[in-house]
Symmetry: C3
Subunit: 213 residues, 3 copies
Amino acid sequence: MPKSEIGNPAPLRSGDDSPAPLRSGDDSPAPLRSGDYRPQSAIIRVGILTVSDRSAAGERPDLSGPALAQAVTERLAGAEVVIAEVVPDERAAIGAWLVRAADELRLDLALTTGGTGFAPRDITPEATRAVIERDAPGLAEAMRAASLRVTPHAMLSRAVAGIRGRTLIVNLPGSPKGAVENLATILPVLPHAVELLREAPEAEKHHGVTKDE
Amino acid sequence: MPKSEIGNPAPLRSGDDSPAPLRSGDDSPAPLRSGDYRPQSAIIRVGILTVSDRSAAGERPDLSGPALAQAVTERLAGAEVVIAEVVPDERAAIGAWLVRAADELRLDLALTTGGTGFAPRDITPEATRAVIERDAPGLAEAMRAASLRVTPHAMLSRAVAGIRGRTLIVNLPGSPKGAVENLATILPVLPHAVELLREAPEAEKHHGVTKDE
Amino acid sequence: MPKSEIGNPAPLRSGDDSPAPLRSGDDSPAPLRSGDYRPQSAIIRVGILTVSDRSAAGERPDLSGPALAQAVTERLAGAEVVIAEVVPDERAAIGAWLVRAADELRLDLALTTGGTGFAPRDITPEATRAVIERDAPGLAEAMRAASLRVTPHAMLSRAVAGIRGRTLIVNLPGSPKGAVENLATILPVLPHAVELLREAPEAEKHHGVTKDE
């Protein structure tokens, strides 16, 4: 599992070859209310897994992992990428990494990029589903719905999102642009998601309206 | 399992602290055709389960159950709330209630409120999935898509909908406002859903165009 | 399993009793870029399964299978309907047909019509889920989202899409109109989906940007 160069991520590609940006038209989600972006008291610990046979074999540079690392660092307040690795499209390798991310590293957020499509080797969603304890379908649905406004090929994303322990796991597409765009869709809700996941199990009985609001 | 005060539900909150209403803009679902709201010949029997550690412990009044009871009674023609109870966020308790609702009480519709989020104790979707026989993902998707136009936090709903026997089970959010808003999204199709579930298994061979149209 | 009359399909009904067409408004998916409809080098082999107790018993003509066969032939470049059959709403019969379609006939695309609703006999999604190896939820979500703009009853579709081996399996509604409309939603991405499914497992290491772009 070669480490990605976290300290020197590939620059986000801008403008030139991008598809139309997500429109901010009538059917966009409502803007966040002021206060929803409140900074977290603790660091949000993030791990990134690039799933690619070619990158794992050193045949192709991993551009998606570094692009995600940069996007997370720049756009998610308090986030710190503590691990970024590359594995081939092997179910066991993906599953083992996710289990380690949740059970040993106790990450807040584990992002994968790659292996979510229709090619015979694309197995990231199945590897993810095998290790999550609680499904979070709303994140995957929202990412696909947003991407569908850019390209009909968004229908072919088989990405899964779910929770293992206190760790939120989210599959993202394999291309740097697709991965960052999908991340952008869920970025506004990640601080609150992490905050809820960190809640003490017994806290529910005592906290206020946060949860049920 | 303390009973909710069905006879004296909390009034639906109106106006003041509401988010923007669901817009009736270009991307709204098509309006129902005349005739779709046809009254059912028989009563629609509804059960409501509030899932909340604090309400089950008597530490917080259950506002969501009564709000749902009122909404169902006022807005779903022929509906009668025959049971409304409160359980803690315990998988076994939720599952047992749903099984009783379907197998013993033979309800047409079992609504849950609470326990669908990301907090460690939120386990209602898993308890539901364990007892349903047939998944009804379109209802959960439609509720999340409608809520997403109000707030991006709708992505964090993990609600499940499905069928056990002749009973439709639908998870709703924990807040009174969220529960009633989500219910409103699926309300137009509930009469037809109940009608189909009541169909005699052998009826398919003899009924007309209703099912396949 | 009576064969449908593939050579003489029922004409697609037009205009008169149709609901409002899918609007091409602001929230429509982005148009395909030029080149996405590139013809495939090989034929796309399609199978169609009509799931209906009444049609299987000869009590009602199968209109949906022929309507789908015509739509596939006319609108999917290179497609050839190689088999079209009718089975009753029996889980085992549906599952066996899908397994044969994938494992023996090695179809590119297996379409089912019927049995996706709430009636007690509607079991096509469960029969499908039992035989697919990889879920393709984006196709089902996109079909329901598009149908939801026509009628709220789209919420009641329980259709599943997924992959077994190299075969894409997609559940469609039981009515001829609903089946063809849902097919139209996913038609633009089917050539690329088939192309990806045909990829040699070892190809990922050598192909270019196609997959990850």
